[in-house]
Point group: none
Chain length 226, copies 2
Amino acid sequence: MDKLNVKIAGEIALSEAPGSTMKKWREIFGITQAELGEHLKISASTISDYEGNRRKSPGIVVVHRFVDALIALDTGKGGSVTRRFREQEQETKFFEAGEFTQAVNAADFAKLIDAKCVVNSEILGQKKLYGYTLLDSIKVIMEMPYTEFPKLFGASPERAFIFTEVSTGRSPMVVVRVTQMKPSVIVMHKLEKVDKLAVKIAQVEKIPILTTKIDIEEMKGRLQKI
Amino acid sequence: MDKLNVKIAGEIALSEAPGSTMKKWREIFGITQAELGEHLKISASTISDYEGNRRKSPGIVVVHRFVDALIALDTGKGGSVTRRFREQEQETKFFEAGEFTQAVNAADFAKLIDAKCVVNSEILGQKKLYGYTLLDSIKVIMEMPYTEFPKLFGASPERAFIFTEVSTGRSPMVVVRVTQMKPSVIVMHKLEKVDKLAVKIAQVEKIPILTTKIDIEEMKGRLQKI
DNA sequence: ACCCCACTTCGACAATAGCCAAACCTCCCG
DNA sequence: CGGGAGGTTTGGCTATTGTCGAAGTGGGGT
């Protein structure tokens, strides 16, 4: 059952003037009484009766059909309203952080996620991780306001940054270079060969770079088990 | 209108078997038909009629009363169920963030919320604020998962952290000291005298501390106007 | 001025909700 | 075993809902 549907239905059901609430939602969806009536196979005047609060306690079946009709008609038109509400619901998520309950050695971490160390492998074993942050590199770079950057650290800066949607791996490293964010380890998801500048940055910053090809959900699952 | 109420009402309204859903919720609340009936001044058998789905489309007024009764009865018993759901549903409710549309000087900000600067007042005028974060200090320390910390920053780290429910002000400052969160200004709500260690931390971190006694809702109102 | 569209208002009527009381189940427990 | 607590079932009565169509209102647009 969809959250938006439940919300609309709930609002109508708890309203002192259910009809007015129905009207509000119909208008939000930009649907005319006639359209609605046609879809529901009832006359437009019936809709108006409801919206005018002629029925003080419409049955929930009416409410149910009403809500479904709004969604269905909206979907038929491209679903713009529905989409807007769904988007509103989920706060823009640029990243996902997780913490480990105990320190994890970076080399063990690499094994866990089937990763290969492509840069600075000699210092990998020295790094400890207390958590990880999964980031969509495109989104981080293109959409995330720079003021959000400090957020990426989560509880501890001693963590792995796992970049997804990387092409050459250069941009993520540039970001690491020019900002305060200095993770212990960087994982590039599904990266073929690492950009030269990226390698240089990693060396200067003394951050090992790992690459892995396992599925993201699979990876999250494995990390959760720590 | 409360979210939990809307959710229950919405679920009932959209259910194929509304009575069963009503029953489910009554049981979740651990209320007997008799209790419910008494509260609603209808017979228990009527409740059973509904729960047995004898009415295919109960009116929303019935649903409304039903939901209200559940909440009221639960509240009368201490509100444990209600509380549990609220906690479950809003993990992010540890804090409330707001952004200003323009930079605000910290000294002006202090005036706006009737605050007095008790530490580092000489640098107050140098600080700029782009937003604020209201936090319940007890909750933040006791209940907030580490992974939520980064969210506190909102759009910009140059903001005021307004701690409510403070006793001496020491713990919030310790948190600031040991984590990455370094706001521009810290406001302690209704704090009598500031703890000595807190003062020291503030000096080390160069963060002014303000205190104010105005009502929180009043404060939110004033901040919204910026 | 005229018309169309979106919407409102209202009388009518069959179908259903809303409610009760009384009888009936079913555990659980001393 | 006996009884009480919690729940279900059913017939029955009245108040409302669910629905229509016809007639009416008001704001554009041409």
